[in-house]
């Protein structure tokens, strides 16, 4: 059963609201406040990173260099590509090098512009389709390469940021074993806080359901501390920096 019976949810909802009063009231009580909890917004003088950190800034070139160093150190591959024109050839080469038989990509004009269908007609290409979720998900689970356009990148931690929407399935950056992430240079930030600040600003209006920071290929050290790459998530991760 996918969606619950509305009456079941309504009943749980009612119980939840009754319980909330008691639960949070008890917390307020322990903290020496009465009622159902403090309703005034507390002063929050320590919000976010220490002051000095918010002034930390790298130049454009430093950001790119730092990102690439971090991404490689985490076990990922990264290349700088002069422009969108060259990008198509680079993606094609990577797909061939790894013997990919199939691709899935976010439904974005920039990625359609790679013209993979023409470049590699022998491969099976698919575009994420939020209208056909089950088929898209099943396809992603058994596709070799996922191609995404990132929302942001963070140089200091070597992280990519991808968010979900109808056009941008979360599965595309997760299920295929080969991830190719396109990073336009102007989206490269210095600090995590720059991305957080934006998320914080839109917190009230509603965020994308999924905001994912990705900092290299999937890894585990759970067997005798031996590093294993590609447990669950992509084992081969490319960040292609365009511009």
């Amino acid at each position: 059963m996918n969606t619950s019976d509305p009456s079941f949810l309504a009943k749980m909802e009612q119980q939840s609201r009754e319980q909330q009063k008691r639960f949070i009231g008890h917390i307020a009580n322990r903290l020496g406040r009465g009622g159902a909890g403090d309703s005034r917004k507390p002063e929050h003088p320590y919000r976010g990173a220490p002051e000095f950190w918010n002034r930390y800034e790298l130049t454009h070139e430093e950001r790119i260099e730092r990102f690439m160093g971090n991404w490689r150190a985490a076990g990922g591959h990264t290349e700088r590509v002069a422009g969108w024109e060259e990008l198509s050839g680079v993606v094609t080469r990577i797909l061939q090098e790894h013997g990919a038989q199939s691709t899935i990509r976010h439904d974005l004009p920039e990625l359609a512009g790679l013209r993979l269908e023409q470049q590699l007609p022998e491969l099976a290409h698919r575009v994420w389709n939020g209208q056909d979720p089950d088929a898209s998900l099943a396809a992603a689970a058994y596709t070799d390469a996922g191609i995404v356009l990132v929302d942001d990148a963070v140089a200091y931690t070597g992280s990519l940021v991808v968010t979900s929407s109808a056009e941008k399935g979360r599965s595309v950056s997760l299920l295929p074993n080969l991830l190719i992430a396109i990073v336009p240079t102007e989206r490269m930030k210095t600090r995590l806080g720059e991305v957080m600040g934006r998320l914080s600003c839109s917190a009230g209006e509603g965020l994308p359901a999924g905001v994912h920071f990705i900092s290299g290929p999937s890894r585990s050290s759970d067997i005798e501390n031996d590093l294993t790459i590609g447990v669950h998530g992509p084992g081969i991760a490319y960040a292609l920096i365009v511009g």
């Binding site: 059963m1 619950s4 319980q19 307020a28 403090d38 507390p42 939020g130 689970a141 957080m196 067997i223």
Partner: protein, 501 residues
């Protein structure tokens, strides 16, 4: 899940010490993680400022937990999340089971969650015939072995590749070579199918963000992303104290947590999940439940000695720093949480005074846990409070005077402990001979420094008091000044507040 034999910390430690692989694995792993942290914090710089900011944010949130919880719940509901409240462990399990039953679920796939261990969720699901599968590689391994995790960050720290190959071969129905790649490859294939089949994905949460009702999960494998992307229903279990006010605060936690846990700049994945999938999205859960769990946490609120326990971000750095943990491994501790944090949290959550007696002994009080802690929780002081409360509640025949003498003795044994640890490899080897402990210091002696191996290892700490008192009285070396003033201020502080609680 079966804990290794022995009911007391000491007995379990003895069992653990007989397993040479375990001893070496724990040592190696904790050393690796500890060095990773050291390098990462040095590279990042200004670590003390970051720690202090981390402490400030956590302390502020806990001091206003009522406000932030209401805010979190309002925002989560506005995004379509079904929020539930579980005062006790059994309530959390009951709510999860109710949802699963209603959905006629056949299988639940889980990512790592300490709270789910706390509320014994696997047993609850299995009790009604629902398969519950751990998907974190380490957790999957120990689930097959039917054992609890022994380290917060690396749960299968105590298993070698041959044991793992045996476990996975049984699952595969064929013999798998004891090779990491082959074993991990099998787990990937096997679990991939499980993700796709599962009706429900169950996750924990490292943080909840009050201003948007989001949950945040840190991980390296991608299994938590799978669990929150593929199944149609997601249930998230979250300790009620996990909150931070804003996304801006997440930058601080993201700076402190991975560096302290493994020395990474950031875990491979950090996912912020805000509600179920939007109508047009093609993946992510269609229905999302968050169960907010108390289970003894609220007992720490308003308690000046222990409220800071709720600041913990579960990084495991105190385990890796603790000479006692490094020596005896996770299964020696009772309950879900091991190491210094477990030694304080377990009895605090249970309000189990009897247990304090046993577990508060399992520390050298050297303060390494505090030094390691990214949010500056004074665990070593808390261990002293535990000990002190035990005295107050009459769990020892000795009075306050004797207990204070005990403090001095701790300091003495702590000094010895440090010295002995410095001896390094050679000293370590001498500890375990013929599978038995010959330690002259540390956990196996409680806080004491015996001259001889006890003939009756099961004697309780309390029973040893008179003898110890005599022994210590005979030759009490001076306590280091810093330690002494700290101990004195603790005791003075307690007196001022009126001690009996």
């Amino acid at each position: 899940m079966s804990k290794p034999q022995g009911s007391s910390v000491k007995e379990r430690a003895e069992t653990a010490l007989k397993d040479e692989f375990l001893v070496n694995a724990v040592k190696f792993t904790t050393e690796k993680l500890k060095n990773g942290k050291k390098a990462a914090t040095a590279e990042h710089g200004n670590w003390e400022e970051w720690r202090e900011r981390g402490r400030q944010i956590r302390a502020h949130t806990i001091a206003h937990l009522d406000y932030y919880l209401n805010q979190f719940v309002d925002h989560a509901r506005a995004q379509g999340v079904h929020v539930h409240f579980a005062p006790e462990a059994k309530d959390a399990a009951r709510i999860a089971v109710e949802i699963a039953k209603h959905k006629q679920a056949k299988s639940v796939v889980k990512s790592k969650s300490m709270v789910s261990e706390e509320v014994h969720i696997n047993e609850a699901f299995e009790g009604i015939g629902i398969e519950s599968i751990e998907s974190d590689l380490g957790e999957y391994i120990i689930q097959l072995a039917n054992e609890p995790p022994s380290h917060i960050i690396i749960p299968a720290i105590h298993k070698n590749r041959y044991q793992i190959a045996d476990l996975l071969s049984k699952e595969a129905g064929e013999t798998l070579a004891p090779d990491t790649k082959i074993l991990a490859g099998f787990a990937r294939r096997k679990l991939r199918d499980k993700f796709l089949e599962a009706d429900i994905g169950l996750t924990g949460a490292n943080f909840g963000i009050a201003e948007s009702g989001s949950i945040v999960i840190f991980e390296n494998e991608g299994n938590a992303r799978m669990v929150s992307t593929v199944p149609k229903t997601q249930i998230t279990l979250m300790g009620m104290e996990r909150l931070i006010p804003t996304w801006d605060d997440l930058e601080v936690m993201a700076t402190l947590l991975p560096r302290s846990a493994t020395g990474q700049k950031l875990t491979v994945y950090m996912s912020g999940i805000t509600g179920p999938r939007r109508t047009a999205d093609g993946d992510g859960p269609e229905e999302m439940h968050i169960i907010i769990v108390d289970n003894g946490r609220s007992l720490q609120l308003g308690d000046p000695d222990f409220q800071e326990l709720l600041n913990c971000i579960r990084c495991g750095a105190c385990l890796n720093a603790c000479p006692v943990y490094r020596h005896i491994g996770g299964h020696s501790y009772p309950g879900t949480y091991s190491g210094p944090i477990g030694a304080v949290l377990t009895p605090a959550l249970n309000k189990n005074t009897e247990e304090w007696q046993d577990i508060a002994n399992a520390s050298s009080l050297c303060g390494a846990c505090y030094e390691a802690c990214p949010v500056k929780i004074p665990l070593h002081d808390m261990l002293v409070y535990l000990r002190n409360r035990k005295v107050e509640r009459g769990y020892t025949t000795a009075g306050e005077k004797l207990a204070m003498k005990g403090f001095k003795m701790l300091m003495k044994s702590s000094g010895r402990f440090k010295q002995a640890v410095k001896l390094g490899q050679t000293g370590q080897k001498l500890l375990v001979r013929d599978g038995y402990i010959r330690s002259q210091f540390g956990p196996l002696k409680g806080w004491t420094a015996y001259r001889h191996i006890p003939a009756l290892p099961s004697r309780s700490f309390r029973e040893r008091w008179p003898q110890l008192d005599a022994e210590v009285g005979a030759s009490l070396p001076p306590m280091p000044e810093a330690m002494k003033s700290r101990m004195e201020s603790i005791v003075a502080g307690r007196k001022e507040r009126g001690t009996k609680r």
